[in-house]
């Protein structure tokens, strides 16, 4: 172990578990795929078994599932109104998938799929594509009015339209970078503080005491923060997706 170098970035390494090759493309089943599959399985398990009995007075399991449902329902209602009910399944799937991948990533020895831009950008592109489909489907070419705020003096229209267009294109990038950055930063911080324990351990006599006293409480706190961030980022992703969809429906 002392021979090879360990960096805090090791945890984000993709490892191929089963090799697949599809027409020259590498489509191997990796640890990232495994964790995403687990997340979907866990979510499915929770929502089927949590609601299987569907008692009037919910138990803990059912209470948790209802809490998540009502939470997402609140996001959709608050940002999209009654018209948004149609898009609830979409927002709900996004939220649960991100929440479960984030939460599984906090577990030791697991892998955080959402720390990779490839995953988050795909999710953001799905949101972006659905905005375009909904927008053009509802308004046709009138969708371009999204880029021209009402009451704008005519000479300013081209300039503002271009600025709005760039701002619009930046959305999927911003969505994906935010999620990946938040997940990556927290996990690196955890690893760095964990390495402090080992470094202090090397000091004679007082090392182990110092190592356990100084960085360890911080690590415990950070794990709490990580769980919070895991939830928060899923919430923000769902929130922004519903805000953007609402804009596409209503056009300001």
């Amino acid at each position: 172990m002392s021979e090879e170098k360990h960096t805090p970035l090791d945890q984000f390494k993709i490892q191929e578990l089963v090799n697949f090759d599809l027409g020259g493309y590498d489509v191997s089943f990796t640890n990232s795929s495994l964790l995403m599959l687990l997340a979907v399985a866990a979510a499915t398990f929770m929502f089927t078994f949590g609601m299987r009995k569907a008692e009037l007075v919910p138990g803990r399991f059912q209470g948790l599932t209802e809490l998540i449902y009502e939470f997402v329902s609140g996001i959709v209602k608050e940002n999209m109104g009654q018209k948004g009910r149609k898009y609830f399944p979409f927002i709900f799937s996004l939220f649960t998938f991100i929440l479960f991948t984030n939460m599984l990533g906090v577990l030791p020895y697991s892998f955080t799929s959402t720390s990779h831009i490839a995953i988050t950008f795909t999710l953001a592109l799905i949101v972006f594509a659905s905005i375009l489909i909904v927008g053009f489907g509802k308004h046709g070419l009138g969708f371009f009015k999204l880029f021209v705020p009402s009451g704008l003096p005519l000479p300013l229209v081209p300039l503002i339209a271009v600025v709005e267009f760039v701002s619009f294109l930046a959305r999927p990038l911003s969505l994906s970078v935010r999620l990946a950055a938040a997940m990556t930063a927290g996990h690196i911080l955890l690893k760095v503080f964990a390495s402090f324990v080992l470094m202090l351990w090397g000091i004679e006599y007082v090392g182990p005491v110092l190592g356990l006293l100084l960085p360890m409480p911080v690590i415990v706190g950070l794990i709490g923060l990580e769980i919070f961030v895991a939830f928060l980022q899923a919430y923000i992703f769902a929130l922004l997706a519903s805000i953007y969809l609402h804009e596409a429906i209503e056009l300001h």
Binding site: G74, V166, L173, A181, L240
Partner: protein, 91 residues
């Protein structure tokens, strides 16, 4: 004795409803996420502006012209994003 139980239950329900309202009113999650949201919105807009300019330059062979123009447009779009995010939180 049943009336006692009912009134007790009603009190309990009222108490839980209060807690529920408090929980809904606090937009703590939004507040915590705002800084990171602003940073990525700003950065992403600038990057997209830059890349559009870069692409147009490569297309027309006008090296720094479109890059500079769209870089500034990207900065404007980024500030617009930050402004919107901040204003939405205000109310």
């Amino acid at each position: 004795m049943d009336d006692d139980k009912v009134s007790e239950l009603e009190k309990k329900i009222a108490r839980f409803k209060k807690v529920d309202e408090k929980f809904e009113q606090s937009s703590e999650g939004k507040q915590h996420s705002l800084p990171l949201r602003m940073v990525t919105d700003l950065g992403a807009a600038i990057f997209v502006g830059f890349m559009i300019g870069y692409g147009l330059d490569a297309l027309f062979g006008t090296d720094p012209v479109f890059m500079l123009i769209f870089l500034f447009i990207g900065i404007a779009a980024g500030f617009l994003n930050v402004y919107r995010a901040a204003m939405k939180e205000g109310d």
